[in-house]
């Protein structure tokens, strides 16, 4: 994996780098350090990464713009910040974790673990996903989403109002941050449980979900059981 550390204080950046190497060892393909958000943005343009460890001073007006910019990328973001009172906000914008400064090895290890771990949801459910449109980051409230469909390296979000938006995230990465009411019913689909009207076995080992608007989506066999359990609890 490729990691980008964005931290303006050199000694701290070096310290984070060393901890990462120590914790992840051979899993790391490369670690890069950038000292300003501007430099980081241009770096990301040239070089895609998997995980960004971002020092963000969320105080001040531009804090949120930067946060939106950070989470709109295809990579996961872990915020490392001294302003812990902004942690909940950060989670709502879909960051993987929020590590308060100062931290120790254990806390950073936990955060990095979340990257590999697909089961444990973040401390606070994501409220917004960020869509990049014409160089602008637009917030997409998660409760507006009907279902999500994989579309190549992107994901297509189908909204309750009938519109569609393209998210620069993979299905797997979305799975790590989406709230519990979203179920991955198929390799290519996330559905809001609220949106499901019916589900059935259509014969020949194929299953189907009917949404409240009448649309039919494929349902995988393993997920049929899970869905059945969830809805009959």
């Amino acid at each position: 994996m490729r990691i980008l550390i964005v931290e303006d204080e050199r000694p701290i950046a070096k310290y984070i780098e060393r901890l990462c190497r120590q914790l992840l060892g051979s899993k790391i393909r490369a670690i890069d350090i950038q000292h300003s958000l501007e430099d980081a943005a241009s770096f990301l343009f040239r070089q895609p990464v998997d995980l960004c460890l971002l020092d963000l001073n969320l105080n001040g007006e531009d804090g949120y713009e930067l946060l939106k910019l950070a989470v709109s990328g295809s990579f996961h973001t872990i915020i490392i910040s001294a302003n812990t009172d902004k942690a909940i906000e950060a989670f709502r914008f879909g960051v993987l974790d929020f590590v308060p400064k100062p931290f120790d090895e254990e806390r950073l290890s936990q955060a990095l673990q979340r990257y590999f771990d697909r089961q444990s949801p973040p401390a606070e459910a994501v409220r917004y996903l960020t869509v990049r449109k014409e160089n602008q980051n637009i917030l997409l409230p998660v409760r507006e989403i009907f279902f999500l469909k994989a579309a190549g390296i992107y994901v297509e979000a189908h909204l309750k109002n009938g519109r569609r938006e393209i998210l620069d995230k993979t299905m797997d990465r979305l799975g790590q941050i989406l709230p519990a009411n979203f179920l991955r019913i198929h390799r290519s689909y996330f559905v809001d449980l609220e949106a499901i009207a019916a589900y059935r076995h259509t014969g020949g080992g194929t299953y189907q979900v009917t949404l409240k608007d009448g649309r039919q989506l494929p349902l995988s066999r393993q997920k049929y059981k899970e869905l059945h359990e969830l809805l009959n609890e």
Binding site: D8, P11, I12, H35, A82, N83, K101, D104
Partner: protein, 626 residues
Amino acid sequence: MGEWENSVKRKMRIGYMPQRHRDHRVGNDAVSFSLCVSVANLILSFILPPSKITILAIALFCILPLHAQKTGSDSLHVFDLSRSGQLERLGDWKYRFGDNPLWALSDFDDQAWGRLHPGKEKETNHGIRWYRTRVRLEGEQNDFDILAMYFSGIVSAYEIYWDGRLIHRNGGVAAVQAAEIPGDLLRVVKLRREWTTPGIHTIAIRLSNLHVHDSFRYFRIPLGYLSDIRDKLNEFMYLQLFNIGVFFFACLFSFALFLGGGRQRPYLMFSLYCLASVLGIGILAYQLLWNINIRYADSLVWLSYIITPLSGVLLAIFFILIFEMPRKYYHMLIVSVLAVVPLLLFDQSDPVLVLLYASGMALYAIRKKVPGSLTALIGILGLLAMMVFFYWGVVWYVYTAGIVFFIFCVMLSISRQIKQQNQQHEVAKLRSARLETELLKKHIQPHFLMNTLLSIISWIREDPPTAIKLIQSLAEEFRMINQISSQTEIPLSDEVALCRTHLTLMGYRQDVQYALEAQNLPGEEKIPPMIFHTLIENGLTHAYRSGENGKFLISCERNNGTVHYRLWNDGSQLEKLSRQPAQQIEEGMGLKYVKARLEERYPHRWQMDYGLRSDGWEVNIIIAQH
């Protein structure tokens, strides 16, 4: 009351009413009175239905001739003996210079003598002269009382003849000053019952006036029952004492406000104004209580000539100060002129012009939203209205009411100001507390503290000795801030030391070198705490790339009356910063703190600007000295 009170009143009108104008009306003023009535009639005719106008018009025409007859008679006063409770003022005097015992006689023909007109003759002080007038007594005299005449402050010496008989002598009348003996100020001349039979009586006065500086003019002598004269005198006296009381307490109260309330000059001015008024009325009351010799009375009148305009000026200064007038000396000059000019030109010392000017200032203050200015204006207008009523001949009570109303309004106005000052004081106290909290918060705020702690952790791994130095400089900075946090200003040298400690700490955090150079800083200079510290913090945030060394420069220059502080720093990111729109740089928390501190310490006499200049960022703070 009598002639002397009138003369005093002319000079110190602040608490007294002129009766001169009332006198006018009785003679020729009947004409102007009827003219006024006609105009009023005309106006009424537009308002009232025709039938009522007719009644009104008839009623007025019935009254007018009576009025005219009573007042327009030729040298003959009429006094109705059967009606007590009224006084007849003897005013239609004929006069002649010279001295002749025959002029006292009732059957002497004085047709050729000159007539004394109200407000016209100015008497020159030479020799003896005589005055004569006649009164017709009607009806039956009251059994329990006798008639009397009240003489006050006319002249140095006089003799009074009733139907040719000498009935009273005050002092010694003489043709030259050395021979004249000055008499008393006041005399009540009683008339024996057998002298005051119904019919026409002649009153002649032989007088000389060589010991009084002030020439006298038209005069009126009240004639009436003795008890009525005494009642009038008492009434007058009580009102003056009441006026004195009002001014005296206002004087004490505002002086106490001055002493206890931080020595604010407006209160002292109002206190002095009240004191001057107490003295003015006091002089009058003193002479009424203790009948003194006319010579002293004369000098006291001159004293009041000075006191009255002075009190007007003091009052105006009070208003200039509480209304926070700009260019106050200019206004003081104007009111002094307004107080003195009427006195010199018209022998009129009322502060009417001064009060008119004060009401103009009050209007200005209302526009500027000075607290209490509206109340003050109402008070001033109240007093002015009372003065006007007074000139029209309304009774003394009205004037006293005017004074009470005026003082009440001024006190109310003062209390409004005190209330506002208290509020401002509270706000200032709160602001100071808030600034202190802000100062302390800046250093326990997470961005600074947590990053520093993490920096320490990282240095512990990387290079423990640096970690120790970093901890030490953090401790040092905290110690310094703790010391200065509660102060509103600290020596500039302390501020520079604090800045250096902060730069050392930040240097360790960024693993770079930050330097601070101080140029020609005078040792004794004091500034509000953490001004430069905050500006340097800002500079560190915006000016430098990570890993870049930095240089700061503080200098201080004294020019005539101003102190000019300059903070300069270099930095590779400044170019970028200057390309940003101005409002983005503007008004961060740090700059707000700096401005609030400057305003707290140097209200309205500081200015600050900043921008990209000569290869670096420059902040200029200019403070005007007192």
